[in-house]
């Protein structure tokens, strides 16, 4: 299986890069130099046996970390939390690490107010108008509320925020692109719109979380090793679904629309089994959670996000090279182009489809780990991403691998840049609006070939 060897080699290279980046990242976070020990020191503040992390519903809390412009913790600042109606829930004071937290009575809408009089000299809110932040708490959620602190009066220019949002849009787009690639390859070779693809993303992230979590809850490996295992297992899951379900169904000549509905059923099963096991709350990984960002002019980028972007780019380049250069990559493109012609020219179509599922599953799982690293891990993350993947894939041209990459990056950029003008709550809406607009104007997508799709 030359193709599988290629994939493994690719994944190994990718994780070697993550390893290289991890060392400076850990050092920047203030941990001692050996990377092995760094995992323990940079772990999430709640990881030390606190019941907060394993919370179910009824354990709602709000928390945050106050750091000044140099990244130093700010101590002794008082934060008051009230209900949306103005009823005081309680007060919290930031400790020597700048952390504050307050248990909350239940889900609902609240307002956190920072008492600016308690800020030490030389520190002020970056935007003094924003001393009150309204937030919504879901059942079982430990919500993080951040008050950006600067030296006072250093409100960024509009251009700075454009650059910052472009960077985070690019990061998000790259993550969507990795996961959407598999979706697009699967559609290209089998014609199946796989609604369960989001769950493969969640599966990768949740497995990585399990291998990464300390002993009673998980295995306690470093995130790099955990991610490597989870990616391989996700690839295996993709292959297993193909062998156990889709191949027999194709043999029974099940219609494509029937298969689409079946994939929705699979998605419901997987998502809810994951929820039963993982719980409804969203949790971070245990490594690289608190990092000092690098400052590049107006841009601030944590080493973690830099690693995410670099790994995502390398993966995309790797897959593109495989599609262009290797035998199996060419076979995949041939099957996607014209299945009957490919079969009659001696390509083993069933084997190609299996490889596509293995690669698609691995890419989805790996994308899920990167997504979990830049946001949090939750049972719904894959489904949220699925609609954006669809948007990216259709924008680029359904079934084309390069279109999926391009479309996804555009979707990521649209999502993040929209927050400059519109409410953050609506950022996913704009990506979906783009999806519907492109269908009106250019239904074959940006890179799709003009053909009858009606």
């Amino acid at each position: 299986m030359a193709s599988v060897r290629h994939t493994v080699a690719l994944v190994t290279v990718v994780f070697a890069v993550l390893g290289l980046l991890a060392a400076p990242a850990a050092a920047a976070a203030g941990g001692p130099p050996p990377p092995a020990a760094a995992a323990a020191t940079t772990a999430h503040p709640d990881a030390a046996g606190s019941p907060l992390l394993l919370a179910q519903s009824g354990d709602e809390a709000v928390q945050g970390t106050l750091r000044d412009a140099e990244g130093e913790p700010v101590e002794g600042v008082v934060i008051t939390v009230t209900t949306a109606g103005g009823e005081v829930i309680g007060e919290a004071e930031s400790d020597a690490e700048g952390n504050w937290s307050l248990p909350m009575p239940g889900p609902g809408e609240y307002v956190a107010t920072l008492d600016q009089g308690t800020l030490p000299d030389g520190a002020a809110l970056r935007d003094p108008e924003r001393d009150s932040l309204a937030f919504e708490l879901r059942t079982g959620q430990q919500r993080t509320v951040l008050f950006p602190i600067g030296e006072g009066g250093t409100v960024g220019t509009f251009l700075d925020s454009v650059l910052a949002q472009t960077l985070s849009g690019l990061r998000f787009g790259l993550i969507i692109a990795i996961t959407a690639l598999g979706l697009s390859l699967i559609f290209g070779t089998t014609g199946l719109v796989n609604f369960a693809h989001g769950e493969l993303v969640t599966l990768g992230a949740v497995m990585a979380w399990f291998f990464n979590a300390p002993a009673p809850r998980g295995v306690g490996l470093t995130l790099i090793l955990a991610g490597l295992i989870a990616t391989v297992l996700s690839a295996g899951a993709g292959g297993a679904i193909e062998l156990g379900l889709w191949r027999p169904l194709r043999r029974r000549r099940t219609g494509l629309i029937q298969m689409l509905v079946i994939s929705i059923g699979i998605a419901l099963i997987l998502r809810n089994l994951i929820q039963i096991w993982f719980g409804a709350s969203s949790r971070p990984f245990f490594d690289y959670t608190i990092q000092q960002p690098w400052t590049l002019g107006p841009l601030r980028l944590t080493p973690r996000d830099a690693a995410v972007m670099l790994l995502a780019t390398l993966t995309l380049v790797g897959v593109a090279t495989m599609l262009q250069r290797t035998r199996i990559g060419k076979a995949m493109r041939a099957v996607a182009d014209n299945r009957d012609l490919a079969e009659s020219s001696g390509i083993d179509v069933q084997r190609v489809i299996l490889v596509v599922w293995v690669i698609g599953g691995g890419l989805a799982g790996f994308g899920g780990i990167l997504y979990g690293l830049s946001e949090n891990v939750s049972y719904l993350m894959g489904f949220r991403l699925l609609l954006l993947m669809f948007a990216g894939v259709i924008l680029g041209g359904l079934g084309t691998a390069y279109g999926a990459m391009l479309g996804s990056i555009v979707v990521g950029l649209v999502t993040e840049l929209s927050t400059l003008f519109f409410s953050t709550e609506l950022k996913f809406v704009w990506a979906l609006v783009v999806l519907i607009l492109i269908l009106l104007v250019r239904p074959q997508g940006l890179l799709g070939r003009r053909e009858r799709i009606g």
């Binding site: 099940t254 079946i262 059923g265 419901l268 099963i269 089994l273 609506l426 996913f428 009106l440």
Partner: protein, 327 residues
């Protein structure tokens, strides 16, 4: 575990308002998917605009109740037109992706802070907003004196009995409408589009217009389901309109039998009977706490959907030849 209690829980659910709402939603899906072959995965979006059309016009703008109902149905009609225009000329899977995306767009927008003045944000529109609210006239129309009504194992409060009676009457009306439509020339064209779109086009039928009419019709039945849902709860909130409602609707439809007149109704009754008794059984036997039932129930529905689609895509009443769909 008392088997009679399981039966009673199941029966109450099977004739109750939830089963009615899903029967209506599935009748709409039946027109789309069963008869026309349209993959509408955003039926919940039609339900949302139906419910909010009523709620916003009556509770926020003080419109009369009956005008609110009309506005709710018109909102579903407009949504169908907006969705149909870009996608109905394309392959079936484009419609599937666009409809599910549109339903989520609507939910995000309706629960967002900028829309709070119109939609009530994440908390939606409770009954007391705007005086007696959107359900005031509905409750005033209720002819049953307050109290609990028992029919053998069934028990209803007077408000629930009112919803159930009107609801089943509406279901019956929609079933009759589908029956009449599908034996008309229009119904034959619709089915021929499902079987072979190109053949229908070759016979000079404007396939796009027929598909659009089908999308509008089924969508308005979905809007009606949303209105009934809101009236039953006397409130509405955006997060009640999650994508899985549509997936439940598909399970209901496929269980009963797509492209059959009584399939959606039989499917809904059977689905809610089974779901409620299984849930009751799991709770009573102490296998799990009430918090864990939600995901277990969803996973069970997913499993049922897969098994049905693999082994009996025509459902209980259907004809397998009518389910040989391809994208």
């Amino acid at each position: 575990m008392d088997l009679y209690e399981l039966f009673r829980a199941g029966l109450n659910s099977a004739v109750g308002p939830t089963a009615i709402v899903y029967a209506l939603a599935a009748i709409g899906l039946n027109i789309h998917f069963g008869y026309t072959g349209l993959l509408n995965f955003g039926q919940v979006g039609f339900m949302l605009v139906g419910a909010y059309g009523l709620g916003i016009s009556v509770s926020i703008y003080g419109a009369p109740f009956w005008l609110g109902i009309v506005i709710g149905l018109l909102a579903a009609l407009v949504l169908a037109l907006l969705l149909g225009l870009p996608t109905l000329r394309l392959r079936a899977d484009y419609l599937a992706i666009c409809t599910i995306a549109a339903a989520e767009i609507l939910r995000f927008v309706f629960r967002s802070r900028p829309a709070t003045n119109f939609t009530g944000g994440p908390f939606g529109i409770p009954s007391q907003v705007g005086g007696s609210g959107f359900s005031g006239t509905w409750n005033a129309l209720n002819p049953f004196p307050s109290g609990t009504y028992r029919f053998g194992p069934l028990a209803f409060t007077h408000t629930r009995l009112w919803v159930v009676i009107v609801g089943w009457a509406l279901v019956l009306l929609m079933v009759l409408t589908t029956w009449a439509l599908m034996r008309s020339p229009w119904g034959r064209v619709i089915r021929s589009i499902r079987e072979d779109e190109d053949a229908a086009r070759a016979l000079g039928k404007n396939v796009f217009v027929y598909k659009m009419q089908s999308l509008v019709l089924g969508g308005m039945v979905g809007g009606l389901a949303g209105i009934l849902l809101a009236l039953n709860q006397a409130s509405m909130a955006p997060d009640q309109f999650l994508p899985q409602i549509t997936f439940f609707g598909y399970t209901v439809l496929i269980l009963g039998g797509a492209a059959t007149i009584w399939g959606p109704v039989l499917g809904s009754v059977l689905f809610w009977f089974l779901l409620a008794s299984i849930e009751r059984g799991l709770l009573d036997s102490g296998v799990m706490q009430s918090g864990a039932v939600g995901p277990v129930r969803l996973a069970l529905v997913g499993g049922a959907l897969v098994l049905l689609m693999v082994f009996r895509p025509q459902g209980i009443l259907g004809d397998k030849r009518e389910m040989m769909l391809d994208a």
